[in-house]
């Protein structure tokens, strides 16, 4: 196998030991955020004010090498693990959500091509993306909402190629990008087999046949290029077809399973940003002659905000690894994740906004003006890639099959407690294993075993009590789902409410699985006495109408830690670079290979000082 060409940007970029790793991106972002830099908050605020594209920040990310993470390793890029990509986009979102949306759309634009797994289009797209070309994803059309089958943009055969007519709107980056993956109707009657995906290069279409539609003014992400394209008999070559003719809907639905998980990295980043502002505010603000953090109410609200972040991380991380380990179940996992996490973080932003008070509302006051922008920007995340309602409705329709207790618990390799372990090497992402529906869910299915394991280890601790309460709430959910009848058509309100309860149960199970799988998460600032887990389980139980008696006390403890231990990042996994040890090893290999002229021989991995390197970077819960 030939080693992929190493883009020069990677080899050149040695500032602050930066390279294409999460740690490197962190360092680079900190540098870029200085006055005059591409991520200078003043510059980004000015872009928002003018509704102009954050071009400097996107150019910096291009030069840093982010486009390589849009391309799977087998096609010459660095995209190997979904959790790594989620971590990268989260870092960018934590600085500026608009930039993350504006740049990250290339992940969406490319995913159909990688999922179709045909060498021709994949090689073509890989070359373009590695060269820094952004790619848009054109699914929606005017008047169609989230209904992909309503698409009216039509592709008809023309000689050996195709002709496209119609509109795609609204589409992120439609105007700025040359490339767009488009879902087009290829059977006049439409239907599930009546659509096909095309990869379109505007530069190769006859002049005047593809026109951009104007950028839409938006409430948030004001600088992003939210526009569209209009096609008027635009000719496409035969090789523009991605996947089988008629296979477009299936390809898009499977691709959405991946993008829905990636999308919640935007919420994680928004939560990071908000907690950073909150922490600073709690440390500075004085009220009634004492610090704001001394007020029990403030500590309680802050603790709830922190617990929401931990729970969002647990779900997102579990989902990202599920993509590798149980891709057959991703239809369920991704729907839960996309319905749940953005809603959870929207709630967190409301809590933080309440505490910030006027500072969260006024712009440009003492550095808190970023909050109003952040809150506006985040409002689009629940809409992306299928709204909360769309994802929840998809889940509601299959609830009878997912009913807790209906299936035996997953054992061995299928259990999340196994595949969430740090030493568990994820299989490469295999999109051929994605399915439109899997009537099982290994995460929630693992709950009884996880609770038993916890009780065996800890006895009847406070954490065990909460875990048992979660299990009981899950059993009630199972009983309530049991009375649900399958039905065609839109789900009933009752079914939607059950789906929401399912999401909370799933989230609790994911957190418990993570706690069982990662001994490090049972120690450190947030981990002692199971504090973080008690916090997230308290949230879950509150939502399931089973609020624990000591919830306020747990939130108070979390809120206190947020202000009294300012050096401990308010994250379970955001500071965790341990997973990236191998990636760093690969970088060393590539650098070595580059310096010796790139022989293509696999460089030994033993050169990476994995153990020490990992440990020194571990800030997870410590």
């Amino acid at each position: 196998m030939t080693a992929p060409a190493v883009p020069q940007a990677v080899l050149r970029d040695t500032a602050a030991d930066a390279g294409p790793t999460v740690a490197g991106l962190d360092a680079a972002l900190a540098e870029w955020a200085r006055p005059g830099g591409p991520f200078d908050p003043a510059l980004l605020a000015a872009h928002e004010e003018r509704e102009s594209f954050p071009a400097e920040a996107c150019a910096a990310l291009d030069a840093w090498g982010l486009p390589e993470f849009y391309v799977p390793a087998r096609h010459g890029g660095r995209q190997e693990r979904l959790d790594v990509f989620v971590a990268l986009l989260r870092r960018i979102a934590a600085r500026d959500l608009t930039v993350a949306v504006a740049h990250g759309k290339t992940f969406l634009g490319g995913v159909c091509v990688w999922a179709a797994d045909e060498d021709g289009p994949a090689h073509l797209l890989a070359r373009q993306v590695l060269a820094g070309e952004p790619v848009a994803w054109g699914l929606t059309e005017p008047g169609g909402g989230s209904d992909l089958l309503a698409g009216a943009l039509t592709a008809t055969r023309h000689g050996s190629g195709w002709r496209l007519s119609g509109r795609k709107w609204p589409v992120n980056n439609a105007t700025r990008g040359n490339l767009m993956c488009v879902l087009a109707r290829t059977e006049p009657g439409g239907g599930a087999r009546g659509f096909t995906v095309f990869l379109l290069d505007r530069r190769a279409t006859p002049a005047g046949t593809v026109r951009p539609l104007p950028k839409m003014p938006t409430h948030g992400i004001r600088g992003a290029d939210i526009s569209g394209l209009e096609f008027d008999d635009a000719r496409l070559p035969a090789h523009a077809v991605v996947g089988p003719v008629g296979g477009g809907l299936e390809l898009v639905l499977k691709s959405l399973q991946l993008t829905r998980i990636v999308c919640v990295s935007l919420s994680l980043g928004a939560g990071d940003h908000a907690l950073g502002l909150l922490r600073r505010f709690l440390g500075q603000r004085r009220l009634y002659g004492r610090g704001l953090a001394d007020l029990p109410h403030a500590r309680d609200v802050a603790g709830r905000a922190v617990a929401r972040q931990f729970l969002a991380e647990s779900v997102a991380h579990t989902a990202a690894l599920a993509a590798h380990h149980v891709p057959e179940q991703l239809s369920v996992v991704s729907a839960v994740t996309k319905a749940f996490v953005p809603s959870l973080i929207a709630g967190q932003l409301r809590l933080v906004g309440d505490l910030l008070g006027a500072r969260g509302f006024l712009t440009d006051v003492e550095g808190y003006g970023g909050f109003a922008k952040l809150e506006r920007d985040h409002q689009v995340v629940p809409l992306f890639d299928g709204s909360t309602w769309v994802n929840r409705a998809g889940l509601a329709a299959v609830l009878p099959l997912l009913r807790p207790g209906r299936r035996p618990a997953p054992v061995g390799a299928d259990s999340p407690a196994r595949w969430l372990r740090e030493d568990s090497e994820p299989d490469p992402l295999d999109t051929r294993r994605l399915r439109l529906m899997a009537p099982r869910d290994a995460v929630l299915g693992a709950l009884p075993g996880l609770v038993a394991e916890l009780a065996a280890e800890e006895g009847e601790s406070a954490t065990t009590g909460l875990a048992r309460a979660l299990l009981a709430a899950c059993e009630r959910l199972g009983a309530d789902i049991g009375s649900l009848r399958p039905a065609a058509g839109p789900p009933s309100t009752a079914a939607m409410r059950l789906a929401e309860r399912y999401e909370w149960c799933f989230a609790g199970a994911a957190a418990l699985a993570l706690h069982r799988a990662r001994p490090r998460l049972r120690d450190g600032v947030w981990g002692v006495d199971g504090l973080w887990l008690r916090g997230v389980l308290a949230l879950v139980l509150e939502a399931l109408d089973a609020a624990p008696a000591d919830a306020t006390q747990v939130y108070g403890e979390l809120g206190t830690l947020l202000t009294t231990v300012p050096d401990a990042p308010a994250t379970l996994l955001g500071g965790d670079l341990g997973d990236l040890g191998d990636l760093r090893g690969d970088l060393d290999d590539l650098r070595g290979g580059g310096e010796t002229g790139g022989q293509g021989a696999p460089a030994p991995r033993s050169g990476a000082p994995a153990t020490d390197d990992r440990r020194s970077d571990e800030v997870e819960a410590a």
């Binding site: 239907g191 599930a192 299936e250 998809g394 329709a397 099959l401 039905a487 065609a488």
Partner: protein, 93 residues
């Protein structure tokens, strides 16, 4: 493993069973479900098709992707396809 009062490798028997299953999803449809009409005409939309496929998969104990219903959109076509699939899997049955 589920045992059936019918032989799922016989298309006619499987068709009759599938017709009953589809009817469960259509509580508002009072007329008998016609196995030769497209399921979409009964309002079995894309989300319901996913649930229906998973349900059938679960009960038959064989993989039934929703795309099978896209490719065989009437009960009669689906029964023929699934009966052949099941027949291949259990030639001794």
């Amino acid at each position: 493993m589920t045992t059936f009062a019918f032989d799922p490798t016989v298309p006619a028997q499987l068709q009759s069973w599938l017709t009953d299953r589809v009817a469960e999803y259509l509580p508002d449809v009072t007329e008998p479900v016609d196995p030769h009409r497209q399921l979409g005409e009964y309002g079995l939309d894309s989300i319901a098709v996913v649930a229906f496929a998973a349900d059938v998969e679960d009960q038959l104990g064989t993989v039934v992707d929703p795309t099978a219903i896209w490719d065989y959109p009437t009960i009669a076509q689906l029964a023929e396809f699934l009966a052949a699939e099941l027949g291949e899997r259990s030639p001794a049955a």
